[in-house]
Symmetry: C2
Subunit: 201 residues, 2 copies
């Protein structure tokens, strides 16, 4: 027996509950909110979803999601073609774009190596990365994978793959986050921050 | 300048971020997940949303959301018509239905009284409640508002409104939740649990 009075709402709740960040309870709240905000939220969302479904595709060069192929970033001639930043996911690309600090191009792996989940090199966009790394204009590949075990394992593997290409291979600095307090930092971060300490002045 | 490469995704993220329980970051993750799970999640969600939008409406008797009017619960002749349970929201009705402990009918207020938010009695389904409370078959109105300041204020107000109707007015018991540990309970709950202690055996 369904817990909800109607199959239509029940089905909507079940689909919403599959979104990352929404559990069964928040999916129920979201479904009710959507039905109550029919004109201002539900109908615009239907339209936005349908539009995204029709138009958004992975970029065949870098793996970014965009309406154009190659994507806006790959097509942007003002971008520095000598720098390539490798990220795990499109969300990481977005995070770097929001920060506005990187003006090169990206390469989206589509995940990390994981023996546990059975994800090997052939499941990630690694072949296209090594091909791009041989481009004559490229000077440096920045491995911007997450500072997790999987992210760092993947970075090590990539650094091996790219070692023959002649490009400089770098990775993001580890250390205290801005605004971080020593008392709240884990030992790993504190250890890195101490080991990588910088001269002052 | 948009932080995302495409306006279509940007718009989708902004709409998703308006759902309760989703912040900007989880909205971005949800949008990416939807685009990646196009066939298995995005398209079914579009369909479910459109269907809910077309078919789900508030019940004119109790305020529940359903495809029929009156709703399935109001139409269910096996329900006990002598009991009416007043809840703040449809989500609360769902919670009681999931528990399976209540076999009467419901009345959904559509919120709580709140001077701060400018919500007065005329903004809630109170007039229809007092009308339903005068039905000859009705014996008891259970005020099942939340155990919050607003919920309890609303319950007090309703109990005043209903005092002339002759029905028994009750409210949910306060006390320790099942599985609760004393050390983790707030003082208010502990105080109630102690004051309302029950004889054993």
């Amino acid at each position: 027996v369904s817990v909800l009075a109607t199959g239509e709402l029940d089905r909507l709740v079940k689909l919403l509950a599959r979104l990352p960040g929404l559990g069964p309870r928040s999916a129920r709240r979201a479904a009710l909110y959507l039905v109550k905000q029919r004109e201002s939220l539900l109908l615009p969302l239907v339209e936005a979803l349908a539009l995204a479904s029709d138009s958004v595709r992975p970029c065949s060069v870098c793996g970014n999601l965009d309406t154009g192929n190659p994507c806006t970033i790959c097509n942007d001639t003002r971008r520095d073609t000598s720098l390539l930043c490798v990220v795990e996911d499109v969300a990481d690309l977005w995070a770097l774009e929001r920060s506005g600090v990187f003006r090169g191009r990206y390469h989206v792996l589509g995940g990390t190596l994981s023996a546990l989940d059975g994800i090997g090199p052939e499941d990630l966009n690694i072949e296209s990365l090594t091909a791009r790394a041989r481009a004559p204009e490229l000077d440096e590949v920045i491995l911007a994978t997450n500072a997790t075990v999987e992210g760092q394992t993947t970075a090590h593997y990539l650094s091996d793959c790219l070692s023959g290409t002649g490009v400089v291979i770098s990775q993001l600095a580890h250390g205290m986050p801005m605004g971080g307090e020593l008392d709240y930092l884990d030992e790993g971060t504190l250890g890195w921050a101490l080991k990588s300490r910088q001269p002052v002045g």
